[in-house]
Amino acid sequence: MNIDRYKKQIIFYGIGEAGQQKLLKSRVTIIGMGALGSVIANGLARAGVGYLRLIDRDYVDWSNLQRQVLFTEEDAKENLPKVIATKNHLTEINSEIEIEAISSDVNSSNIEGFIQDVDLVVDGTDNFEIRGLINEACDKHQVKWIYGGALASGGATMNILQGEETPCFRCFMDELPEEGTYDTCSTVGVTNAITGIIASFEVSEAIKILTDSDAVSTQYLAIDTYDNLIDYIDVEKNPNCPVCGQKQYTQLDSPAGSLSTSLCGTDSWQVASAANKKINLKLLAARLENVGDVNYTKFILSFKNEEVSFKIFPDGRAIFENVRDGIAAKTAYAEYIGL
């Protein structure tokens, strides 16, 4: 191992040689490999975090290139799964760390397996539901995690430290909103400045947590780059919090089932099944080639005809483009793939 690559951060008083050794031995799961996740993964890989588990359900799209800093036009042309593209690029950046890439939906049936054997979970996701699930799983297994969110020109981040006096995500996000009732990057957009800034704060806090720093933030940080606002806000632990107070894991204990979810930043809907479904893309391509245009690799199959277009992964997840809603997506899944 060439430790010289880290010498500029070893010189930094907050890390030093001891801190660098801690980073090299650390294990981190990053959930979401979009605008936040790509910056987080880049930062932690370059800092020498010894093991990174990257999880995302999506593939690289042309519209990602504005803010998802690790992806290239070639990745978009090939429609590579985001975690595969990320691993490819990170391996060229730091070949001395271990990177596990998992192209998968994260749901109640699999999240505990993704988080219980790591030191830290870092949030790169793009919806409220998954963050609630991360919060419950991490509370159950007492794994620290870092929340981060960004939309339009604003963003926020906070460390969830699993302390007796420190709040969890539900302590400050006191009400779960219904899907469709809040803005997304499809409706109001997002700048690469705010995603980069929030993700960089997540990287900084991750390094502090992993090196046992005394400077770990305990506050909620909110930033608006367009109107030049920065606020550090004290958040109290809610003694009646359903998660960290009452240990009610409603999302974690719910069966995942078959569900459709919209994908932030696109007009697409994902259909996924909780069952361990393995799709033979070659056989599926043979079945579909008579009813439309099909292309496939070992990672993904693309299909298009006059009625529908979709991409499907070997684990059975499919992303339908330009469909009316989640119900239409599930209907098309049943028709072309089988539910």
Binding site: G154, M173, I233
Partner: protein, 107 residues
Amino acid sequence: MESQQRQHTQNTSDYDEKKEEDLMTLKIIMVGSMKNAFGWKPSVTVDVDKDEITGEDLLSLIGLDRDEAKMFGFLLVNGTKVNREAAVDFIIKEGDTIKAFPKTFGG
């Protein structure tokens, strides 16, 4: 006083009989995507015909009712976080620094 930003007035039937100094003027800074509820303006200014108001009444006054404004996260009043529940009893007065934050989910 930012007269060009006044948007709401309470008890308009009594307005003409009240003196200018009887009105409390509050400015609420909108952070991030919270601005989307107000035409992307950076702040909202309201006149209130009393010398104090609860957080919940203020939110209703500017159109962030509990049942409709699902994107609303919390207020920050003079550096103190005030969520929806706490806003029921939290008192706001003229001169308070008020910011409204959204729930931020994107990434």
